[in-house]
Structures are given as structure tokens and as C-alpha cells.
Amino acid sequence: MKFLNNYIFNHLLLIILITVFLISSCAKATLTVQSPAEINTRKIKNIAVGGFEIGHIMLKFKTERNGVWQTHPVFLNDEQQKSISRSVRARVINLLTATPYFKVIFSDEFEKLENDSALQQLVSVRGYKTKNVDAVINGKLWLEIERTDGVELSKEGLEYFRPPRSRNSLGLNLTVDQVVWWPYKSTRGTLGLEIKLTRLLPTEVVATTFETRTYSQRIGGRSRESFQQISEGLTSVLSASKSSKTDNIESSVDVLPTFEQIIADMALSIASGFVRRVAVTEKVVSYPVAEGSSANAKILIEAGAYDLAIAQLQQTTAENPDPNDLYNLGLCFEAIGDFGLAQNTYREAWQAEPENLLFAQGLGRIERLRREHPQLQRQLESR
């Protein structure tokens, strides 16, 4: 038994030490890669952002006690509603300006138009005065957010336990049934946003999306579960746009966000999906670095000093073409966007060690990029 205990303990210690070592030594290179737009917007360079029309806005507080519901709507005047519309529009602009793909022309001519019909009419008769605009983005929003103060009911078995006092005593173990009220608070918000990209010459609606995002969070209640979600990630478009979302200086999962914060985050989520469809976007990815013969090269890649790593690896591989060094060299070329050289170098590494998954993955990545590349290249060249 003692032997078994020692054996388990020693193995546990070994596993922990290996895990700590692996965590601290797992080398990764962080690369910024570009993804092509889903739809062809090649000839559109300069865009203006029109207004975001309000379809419907409803904010309300709800209370439930003993099965009786009371609803208190929050009345927003015109100016408050327009402020929500302007906030949503500005979030879309934040994302559009974060991508170098479009030049955003800030003109209030299109923003002042009452709705989409007015915009389409102006565009069809070419009555606009703003110059150098290829397309206009406008939108319409529907918003509903409610906060609930409710109570749920459940039967609980409250337990009582007294240990036996002697060999003849069985002790006492019983359960008292209680019906207990569990107050909770919750918030649920849905934003529907239609965004449209209209080309001016020739007049054509190039892209249109209607997407909804739902946010929900609940605190308290029986289950003590606090859940919070927006159906799509907020920070997937650009690293530069990270600061576009609501920045928390202090937060708690037990605090429901304000109406303004929910609107801001949902608008950003929808806008990021739209921008991905119409513009070349960038994303940051991490790939493993191989254990090559050049210690310097590995740490230079990890740190992001690709130029010096290339110089060192070219020298090393010329003398001794170690496949791990070749893979690392390919990784450096991939990081600086030289996909042709990256592919050749990855292939060289893979040919030397065809069973190495890491090398095959590198090769596969470049092949996929090159398949997408003509589209990406065309999109970038049209800028």
C-alpha cells in the first residue's frame, strides 16, 4: 500500500513538473494574417457612412411577485433614440476605419437622410454633392432590452445530521422539506441590425446583412448560475479594434450591465460580422516554433524579430539544412508575408521529414493561403 502510494505520488509530481516545463517552454510565433473579404468589393475604395434608421426601440423593467407581472417601459424621447442610432453608427465606423481596406469619407450629406428610401432615391438620381465616394453604408436597427426582477420557487430538503453517540445509537439523519423563494434579476437584450452597402456608380446594392445579437445575463435565483453571452465573439476582426468594445475598469459577474453598455457591445458584434464580409481583415494567430539548431533564431521568432531571425537562419541552413531550421525559416517568411518563399522552405523541410506533422501543417497553411491569395491579392491591388 505504501509502495503504491509512493508510486502514485512520484508520478503525480513528475506529471506536474513536466506540465510546468511544457507550459513555460512551449514556443509560439504570433503572426498577423490577412483574410479576404467574403464578397467582391474590389472597385470600392472610398465609402461614406449614412444614417442608421430606427425601426423600433423598447427598453423596459419587469417585476414578478407571486405570479403577477408588472411592466414599466422606459420612455425615450427623439433625441435619446437618435443618440442610440448615432452610437451604433459610430461603432460601425470604428471598425471600418480600423481596416486599411477602405477610406472612410466623413460626410454628413448621407447621414442626414431620413431613411433608406431617401438614400436610394438620392443615389438613383445622382443628386449627391459629396465627391470621391464609391459607396455608401447605411442601416436600420431594432432594439429591445428588458430587465427582470423575479422570484422562483423550489422545494428544498434541509438536512439534519447527528452522529451516533454510542455503539447502540444510530444517530439521526433527517430531511425537512421547505418551499423556498429564490429572488433573481436578469437582463435580456436583442439588437437586430440591417446594414447595406450601396455602390453609387453603377447604382447597385453590393451587400446587405440582417443579423441579430442576443445578450442575456442572470444573477441570483436557485441555480446560482450566471450566464452571459453574445452569440458571436466581439474581438475577432482586428487587433487594432480591441479598444472599440466597452472597456471595463472593474467588473463583476454579479452585476447586470447598463442598457447603454449592452447596446454598445451588441452593435460592435454585428458590425464586426459585416466588416468581415466586405473588407480584407487581419487577425492574429499563433503557430508553434520548431526546436532548431539555432537557439537564437527560435527566441528571435518568439519575440517577433523576424528580419534578424531570417538572416541567422539563412546562414545556418546554407551550412547545414536542418529541417527544423528550415521550418522556422518558413515561419519567418510567412510572418513577413512572403508566402512564395515560405512555401518553398516548408516544402524543403517536409521533404526531409515527411512524417513531421508540424512541417505538413505549415505547408498546408500556405497552400490554403495561396488558394485564397488570388482573391486577396486582387482585393489588395485594387486599393
Binding site: 466623413f106 423563494w181 452585476v255 537564437n296 517577433g304
Partner: protein, 431 residues
């Protein structure tokens, strides 16, 4: 006993190993030199724009419920002035007396400030387990002191009640039988469960700035529009408000005694009224027609509220400022310990010039890799030109050649690579 001692010893050493690895990884990064670097703005504002007017009259405050508009505008002006690219002032109007639109191009900032906050009060219910016996009481009280959790005492025996579920009865019964057989009857203390209620208040604050940056002169053009926001949320449990409202044995003293003596299971209780924990249903309605109040001085002390709002404003403005103006950013770079010059402390104290002088007095062939790295750091920290960055890069590479595989030196090379790439943009924006 001996076996228990060895088992404890082993697991203590395991825990020690884990703590040591965590501490080692955390502490090995404490030795840093902090210096300021200038970063380029996201857009390049034409060089002729030198004056910026923040038009208070054109900044909408309809939804500024916290009344922070003036603070936002002043903080925006102060930050932009600190970075030196523009001369910025907050004005209530702009006319011909302030600038000549035919000779000068200026920029104006306008937009809106949105802010709000709420105090969300309420009552929650939880289940707690009460432990009796001296040992139980002491351990619970001791744990409560450490974790600062809410504890209550049950009304019947004064047991200490803490949030959590009743431990597995079957296992505990089996264990107690075993202890009982061994004659150790008092090892397992009695337990009972209670329903508790408590009050809480959740405080949240929100700030958003929607600003546009417009150039005006012979022509008018909007160069940037941004909306950025920041929020604050804190949940405060009113610890004094915890109350036990139902206990598993406390139906009545008589009934409780009966159970204790006869061990007759009388449950489930047939009378629903007795079994209903009615006080767990809050009588008060927390969401009324007036909505939620803005946090007052009793919810958040004035000094703390000022600090929180200042941080909210700062975070809200950060991205807009970085969009239009080159900005300064603090960089923490690790210092290399050792070397012949022992210049680490000087760099830590920000005396980069003195550190540079001391290292440069050592003949090159006698310099160790740490000296070369610290020399690079001194150039980087006091950089005034592109040449300084290029020198720093050269010294970092020399350090790396002298001591291959040192991550710290590679990080220096990578930092300089980024600065050099940004230099061109920065030069266009500041000269």
C-alpha cells in the same frame, strides 16, 4: 499516525514545488526599467493643423446623466496638450476673432458625451450548512476570518453557519459508524442546514464619448469619427443583512425535542404553511416605474466615485486621442542583472545617461553580454533619434551573439524593429 504524517509531508512538498514555480516565474520579471516612447497616431493629420478647438457648444449632453461633459472635454484638452502635437483649448464658440479661416487651418472636435449609472438593490436567498461542536465552531470561525465570508449562527444551538451544501451524508454516516466502533464518538460534529436571506446592491457606471475631428480652413473635412466607452461594475453584499430564516430542526422546540428523543421520521411535513420559508420572498419590488437611481454618496464614497469617473473618462478618451495625435506610452523593459558595469540599478532608477557613460567606459572587449544589453537599453530609454534606436539594436544583437539563446536580448531586438517601422509614420506626423 506516522503514515498520515508522511502523506501530509509529501503533499506539502508537492504544494511547495507548485508555489515555488509560480513564484519563480512571477519574480523573475520584477527587475524592469520604465521609460516613455512616442507612438504614431492612427491617422495622419496634415502638418498645417496646429490648433484644435474643442467646441463645448457642439458637444451634446442630452444623455450625460452623470454630468461629466466638462470633465471629459477638459481631460481631452489636457491629454492632447501633454502630447504636444496640437495646441488645444476648450471653447464655447468659434468665430473670426479666434482664427482666420483664409490663412489658417484649424481643427474642431465635436460630438456627444453619454453617461449613466445605476444602483440595483435586491435580496437573494442562499443555503448554508451549520456545524456544531467546539472543533466545528473553531474551524468555521477560523476559516471565516481568513476568507471574510458571511457567517451566521443558528438560533437553536448557536452553530456556525456558512454558505455551502450539506456534506455527503452517506459517507459521513459510514465514517461516523467507523469512528463510533473505534470509540471516537465526538470526531464528527452534528450538522444542520438553514435557508438564509441577504441584501445586496450592485453599482454600475458607464461613460461613452462620440467625437469627430474636423479640419476647417479654406475647406472643411472630417478626418475621424470614433465612439468609445468604458464601464464600472461592483457587487456589494451587505454582510450585516444575512439572516437565517428556516432551520432544519427548528420547527418548534417541542417538535425538535421529539425528533431528538424518538428518532421518528415525521417528514415530509404535512402542513404546507409550516414548510413555507415565506421570508425568503422579498416583499419589496425593486424595479419600479422610476427605474434605477444613479449612485449617490452613500453608495460610492465621493472620493472613490471621483476616481472611478476619472478612470472611466481616461479609458473612454484613450482611443480617440491615439487616433488623432502621436502619443507617449510607458514601456517596461527588463534589465539584465550582472555584467562588469553593474548598471542595472541606474537603469531601474531611470538614470539611462549615467548608465550609458559607465558602460562605455569599459573597453569593448571586456564588456559582458549583460553590459551590451544594458547599453542598448540605455540608448533605447533615452532615444532622441532614429540613430539611437539603430545603435540600441546593434548592441542588443552583440549581446545575443555573446550569449546565444537569451530571450531577453531577442526581445530587445524585436522592440526596436517595431519602433523603427513606426518611425517613418511618426516623422510625418510630428516634424
Amino acid at each position: 499516525m506516522k503514515k498520515t504524517y508522511f502523506t501530509h509531508k509529501k503533499y506539502f512538498s508537492l504544494l511547495f514545488c507548485l508555489c515555488a514555480s509560480v513564484l519563480f516565474s512571477a519574480c523573475s520579471r520584477l527587475n524592469v526599467s520604465q521609460f516613455e516612447v512616442q507612438r504614431p497616431s492612427r491617422i495622419t493629420v496634415p502638418r498645417e493643423v496646429k490648433k484644435v478647438y474643442i467646441r463645448a457648444d457642439l458637444v451634446d449632453e442630452t444623455n450625460d446623466k452623470l454630468g461629466i461633459k466638462n470633465q471629459v472635454l477638459q481631460q481631452l484638452a489636457d491629454e492632447l496638450n501633454r502630447f504636444g502635437r496640437f495646441k488645444v483649448s476648450v471653447v464655447n464658440t468659434l468665430d473670426g476673432s479666434q482664427f482666420d479661416s483664409e490663412k489658417e487651418t484649424v481643427a474642431i472636435i465635436q460630438g456627444e458625451v453619454i453617461s449613466g449609472g445605476e444602483v440595483d438593490r435586491g435580496q437573494f436567498t442562499d443555503l448554508a450548512t451549520c456545524t456544531g461542536g467546539i472543533s466545528g465552531r473553531l474551524s468555521s470561525a477560523g476559516a471565516a476570518t481568513i476568507t471574510n465570508e458571511a457567517i451566521t449562527l443558528d438560533n437553536w444551538r448557536g452553530y456556525v453557519c456558512r454558505r455551502g451544501t450539506f456534506a455527503g451524508n452517506t459517507a459521513e454516516l459510514a465514517l461516523s459508524s467507523a469512528f463510533s466502533m473505534a470509540g471516537l464518538n465526538d470526531v464528527i460534529p452534528p450538522k444542520n442546514q438553514v435557508v438564509r436571506i441577504y441584501d445586496y446592491k450592485n453599482i454600475s457606471l458607464f461613460a461613452q464619448a462620440n467625437f469627430s475631428f474636423n479640419m476647417i480652413g479654406l475647406s472643411r473635412e472630417t478626418l475621424a469619427i470614433r465612439a468609445d466607452s468604458a464601464s464600472f461594475g461592483r457587487s456589494i453584499t451587505e454582510k450585516d443583512s444575512y439572516r437565517n430564516i428556516k432551520e432544519s430542526h427548528l420547527i418548534s422546540l417541542t417538535l425538535g425535542s421529539l425528533i431528538s428523543i424518538t428518532r421518528i421520521p415525521i417528514f415530509p411535513i404535512p402542513n404546507r404553511q409550516i414548510a413555507l420559508a415565506s421570508r425568503s420572498n422579498p416583499k419589496k419590488i425593486f424595479y419600479g416605474p422610476k427605474g434605477l437611481a444613479i449612485p449617490g454618496i452613500y453608495d460610492l464614497p465621493p472620493k472613490e466615485k471621483r476616481n472611478v469617473i476619472q478612470q472611466l473618462v481616461k479609458r473612454t478618451l484613450e482611443s480617440f486621442i491615439r487616433t488623432i495625435s502621436p502619443y507617449k506610452q510607458m514601456v517596461n523593459a527588463e534589465i539584465a542583472e550582472g555584467g562588469r558595469a553593474k548598471a542595472g540599478n541606474l537603469l531601474k532608477e531611470g538614470k539611462s545617461q549615467k548608465a550609458r557613460k559607465i558602460i562605455e567606459e569599459i573597453p569593448q572587449e571586456k564588456r559582458e553580454s549583460q553590459d551590451w544589453y544594458n547599453l542598448g537599453l540605455s540608448y533605447e530609454a533615452g532615444a532622441l533619434s532614429v540613430q539611437d534606436y539603430e545603435d540600441a539594436r546593434r548592441f542588443y544583437i552583440t549581446a545575443l551573439e555573446k550569449s546565444p539563446g537569451t530571450k531577453l536580448y531577442a526581445q530587445g531586438v524585436a522592440r526596436i524593429r517595431r519602433y523603427l517601422a513606426e518611425t517613418k509614420a511618426l516623422a510625418g506626423q510630428t516634424q
